[in-house]
């Protein structure tokens, strides 16, 4: 079956407008008779639930946390992009579209990205109207900052807590609808399967995480907004509960899963400190605007630092290797995330890592503090300031810009980053791959939609900073409410979907059997034991750099871990109570399948693009020697996988990507 993206015809810039003008609508009286389920209440799910309820649909929303406000969108720090051109620096919808497609290494669908750029400006207006306290300048106007990889200043922010404030905005819109009874909110509930009737998604099976009760919920359409699958690595910047279960369950029921190998490894995270580590903490990419990244040039210095005989501040400029500035003189420390991450790995693999685990590089603010200090001294009319005075003045500026991040680093690492350089190392952060959707954001199952990070469509092989929040809210506020209406307009005569049917019986039986298996298995190893094993394989063989041999090994090893899991997993407690270990067991079981498909996809894609780096596909000579080599002739397609039982048996469907409005170029940062 060929994949049909259902992209509207016509010029790129008119597609979305003419699409909206020509779709079928549901009249207000009929909306009252239509139910929609939204699973996940982060930026995408929360904004979709609120908007659909406002339009008049009956919405049932589900979150595994005790409140929609706690979804992991809340952790995004830096900001949200929008083509407002408030700075008059030449920004436009087209430029935002162009930057996003280029940043994604030409592996995203043009029409979707253009639509995203078109609606971006409206997101800011909407959020301001909701009371989101964006940063303002002294004239009372909205402030902007710039972000990696682009030439304009289009990022709106609310201190270092933009994700939190945007989510609280969507959450307040939800609250208004919950109060009206238009959203029925199910907190502490987890979706465990989707129910299909006559090929259409008509409901879900969910578990009440407090009582353990298995519940049936029906609707005319189901929207999945459950975020990414970064926790397949065990250690990531995702929340502990972030999981792929909803996405994976719908995959098993017929939704194709696209480009699982596209994962973003973020360069500026706090390094791991020991085996007990439960998660990794990200520090905003904005730090690279002022920090310089380096490792020592000589192995002797590396050893001396690791053993505590030497402090990094004792090394002279000549003894330091500012490897990003050396390798990429044009962009220096501001190369895109994937490039910065791979370069750190390259140095650490060569043995130059600066902490005990050998997996850390320095991010140094000394130069920035000096530079700002001198500037301030001049501004304040201080002639020949002492070194201490310059430092004091400069530190104040750095503190104003990054104070909360420095404090967070200090709390976690117990070192003062104003005095000694920060240590950083890349960590899994975001997954560009996800459930395949068409232009309507519908999966390959009728009536089943997927939005936000959980789908694959907008970021290609690499996501630009401050674009995740934009996509989540665009999908939820402005795109899905139109596209889903077109589908639901054919459902106005259907009436309420009953839950006492054989389809619900079967889905519930499957879910119950699996839960009973876990609590009765009495194996010998905890869920975390298996999750850590999977994470180690993923990180070592399907991490920042991948090759054929490693990927084949990874597929076999993951399969072996999965088989062992189903024999030996131990889940204490019972099914009919709050049981966090039982929740984890179900999620890890799904990761153990997803991980193998991930490796299979990486094996299939024998090119390097964006976050996916194949060691076999590098430039062999010239200026770009050793850099990633994309293969547009053979791989300019979306790899959408159809479930066929074992992950290794998944069948590949290709959606060929066409670029009519943009020229494919090599990304060069030299």
């Amino acid at each position: 079956m060929a994949l049909d993206s259902k992209t509207p015809k016509g010029p790129l810039k008119d597609k979305w407008t003419s699409y909206k003008n020509n779709i079928d609508l549901v009249n207000p009286a009929n909306k009252r008779n239509i139910d929609v389920i939204v699973v996940g209440t982060g930026l995408a799910g929360g904004s979709a639930a609120a908007t659909l309820a406002e339009l008049g649909y009956n919405v049932k929303a589900f979150a595994y946390q005790d409140s929609p406000r706690r979804a992991h969108s809340i952790a995004a720090q830096g900001g949200i992009n929008a083509a407002k051109n408030y700075q008059g620096d030449g920004d436009s919808s087209y430029r935002l579209f162009y930057d996003t497609v280029k940043g994604g290494d030409y592996r995203s669908r043009e029409a979707n990205v253009h639509r995203l750029a078109e609606v971006s400006a409206n997101i800011i207006d909407q959020c301001v109207a909701q009371g989101v306290p964006f940063a303002r300048d002294y004239g009372g106007m909205l402030d902007n900052r710039s972000f990696g990889g682009v030439l304009v200043s289009r990022t709106f922010y609310a201190k270092g807590q933009t994700g939190q404030q945007l989510l609280l905005g969507a959450y307040s819109a939800m609250n208004r609808q919950i109060a009206r009874g238009k959203i029925e909110m199910f907190n502490r509930h987890e979706m465990l399967d989707v129910v299909k009737v006559d090929g259409k998604a008509r409901g879900i099976i969910a578990r009440n995480l407090i009582t353990g009760e298995i519940e049936r919920h029906s609707a005319h359409a189901v929207v999945i907004a459950t975020g990414g699958y970064g926790n397949v690595y065990f250690l990531s910047t995702n929340a502990m509960g972030s999981n792929a279960t909803a996405a994976w369950k719908i995959h098993k029921k017929g939704a194709h899963f696209a480009n699982p190998c596209y994962t973003q490894i973020h360069p500026t995270c706090i390094p791991r400190s020991g085996d007990y580590q439960s998660k990794l903490t990200l520090m905003s990419e904005s730090l690279r605007n002022d920090g310089r990244i380096w490792v020592p040039k000589s192995m002797d210095d590396v050893m001396a630092i690791r053993e505590g005989r030497k402090s990094p501040t004792e090394l002279t400029e000549n003894e330091r290797d500012y490897y990003l500035e050396r390798r990429y003189p044009a962009f220096g420390n501001l190369v895109p995330r994937d490039v910065a991450s791979r370069a750190a790995k390259e140095r650490c693999d060569a043995g130059y890592g600066v902490n005990k685990t050998g997996e850390a590089v320095y991010l140094d603010f000394k130069s920035a503090i000096d530079r700002y200090g001198k500037e301030q001294a001049k501004l304040k009319g201080i002639n020949n300031p002492s070194e201490d005075k310059t430092y004091e003045l400069g530190q104040a500026i750095v503190e104003a810009k990054y104070g909360n991040l420095f404090q967070m680093y200090n709390k976690i690492v117990d070192e003062d980053p104003y005095k000694t350089p920060m240590m950083i190392y890349p960590a899994t952060h975001y997954t560009m791959g996800g459930v395949w959707v068409d232009y309507n954001l519908m999966t390959t199952v009728d009536g089943l939609y997927c939005i936000g990070e959980a789908n694959f469509s907008d970021h290609g092989a690499n996501r630009l900073g401050a674009s995740a929040l934009m996509q989540g809210l665009a999908d939820g506020y402005f795109v899905l409410p139109y596209t889903i209406g077109d589908y639901l307009s054919k459902d106005i005569r259907t009436g309420k979907i009953p839950t006492d049917t054989k389809e619900f019986d079967e889905a519930e039986k499957e879910v119950t059997e699996r839960i009973n298996f876990f609590v009765n298995n009495n194996g010998s190893k905890s869920v975390d034991y298996f999750h850590k094993k999977l994470g180690k394989i993923m990180w070592e063989k399907v991490g920042m750099a991948r090759n054929e041999k490693g990927l084949k090994e990874a597929m076999a090893e993951i399969k072996a871990v999965r088989e062992d899991f189903w024999k030996e997993v131990k889940v204490p407690g019972t099914a009919d109570e709050m049981n966090p270990e039982l929740e984890k067991a179900g999620r890890v079981a799904d990761f153990l399948e997803l991980g193998e498909l991930f490796a299979k996809d990486a094996l299939n894609r024998n090119e390097s693009c964006g976050g996916h780096f194949r060691e076999e596909s590098v430039e062999l000579d010239g200026l770009q020697k050793g850099e990633a080599k994309r293969d547009d002739v053979n791989y300019a397609y979306v790899a959408a996988w159809e479930y066929k039982g074992e992950p290794a048996d998944a069948v590949l469907h290709k959606e060929q990507l066409e670029f009519n409005d943009i020229e494919l170029k090599q990304r060069s940062y030299k």
């Binding site: 409140s67 207006d125 109207a129 009371g131 306290p133 940063a135 609250n175 998660k279 404090q407 709050m578």
Partner: protein, 248 residues
């Protein structure tokens, strides 16, 4: 380091509950408090006991899910951090650490250290929003200039993560810092002024209905708040409430 933990165990909402002693060994000072709890739970699973249930999610101090009362303080002895950011270097070898759930009538225990904070949800639903549709057909974001100071103050109030530490720290189990922060965020912004009267009245009424107590101006909430939300927000809410009452 080696530690003795005294932890509140309670099977479900109907169980009476009790403190139970546990020992953990070889705890690194670099661990977060919750990683120490992970070590304990792994140990309990391996010996066939039931692990301790506790709320947690982002583990970077922003989701507001974690909620332990450690040695008599919400989120433990460190300042301006949540439990997930509390590190074991705050303790020393041989310490005994008491760990309880957040306690308040309006926060009933669900299991062990997990409490039900949906009373906060209902307060927000009573008025913690601006009644604007999400159609995108609003005016331009720059149409109303907002003085930087107001925007910054609104932001400071809006940083509340809704964890409930203020309630757990208050001898009256008052939620006024939480409600005050939300009322303040909207009171400081022109967009929120339109509904200011109903908002403060409805939110305060719901707060009382949920069984939260009144403010005594002790200020423990401000000290224990992981985000440093200021008592000024309570004063602002009281002013708003007075103004609303006079309007009738």
């Amino acid at each position: 380091m080696n530690l003795t933990l005294k932890i509140w165990r309670q099977k479900d909402a109907n169980d009476k509950g009790q403190m139970v002693d546990y020992n953990v060994t070889d705890i690194s000072e670099h661990m977060s408090f919750l990683e120490m709890m992970d070590v304990l739970n792994e140990q309990l699973i391996n010996t066939g006991d039931e692990p301790v249930a506790f709320d947690h999610d982002c583990r970077e101090g922003i989701c507001g899910m974690c909620s332990m009362y450690i040695n008599g303080e919400a989120h433990g002895p460190d300042r301006n951090v949540t439990t997930c950011q509390l590190h074991m270097r705050m303790f020393k070898d041989g310490d005994t650490i008491t760990i309880e759930p957040f306690r308040a009538t309006a926060f009933p225990v669900i299991k062990d250290l997990v409490v039900d904070r949906t009373s906060f949800e209902r307060i927000q639903q009573a008025g913690g929003f601006i009644s604007v549709n999400t159609s995108g057909n609003t005016q331009d974001g720059n149409a109303i200039p907002i003085p930087k100071k107001d925007a910054d103050d609104a932001m400071d109030a809006a940083t509340c993560i809704g964890c409930g530490a203020c309630v757990a720290s208050c001898k009256n189990s008052s939620a006024m810092l939480f409600v005050g922060a939300k009322v303040s965020q909207y009171a400081l912004l022109p967009q929120g002024r339109v509904e200011a009267t109903e908002r403060v009245q409805n939110m305060v009424a719901q707060m009382d209905l949920e069984g939260f107590g009144n403010c005594t101006n002790t200020g423990a909430c401000e000290i224990e708040c992981p985000k440093g939300i200021s008592l000024e927000n309570i004063a602002r809410m009281n002013t708003e409430f007075m103004k609303a009452s006079l309007k009738g």
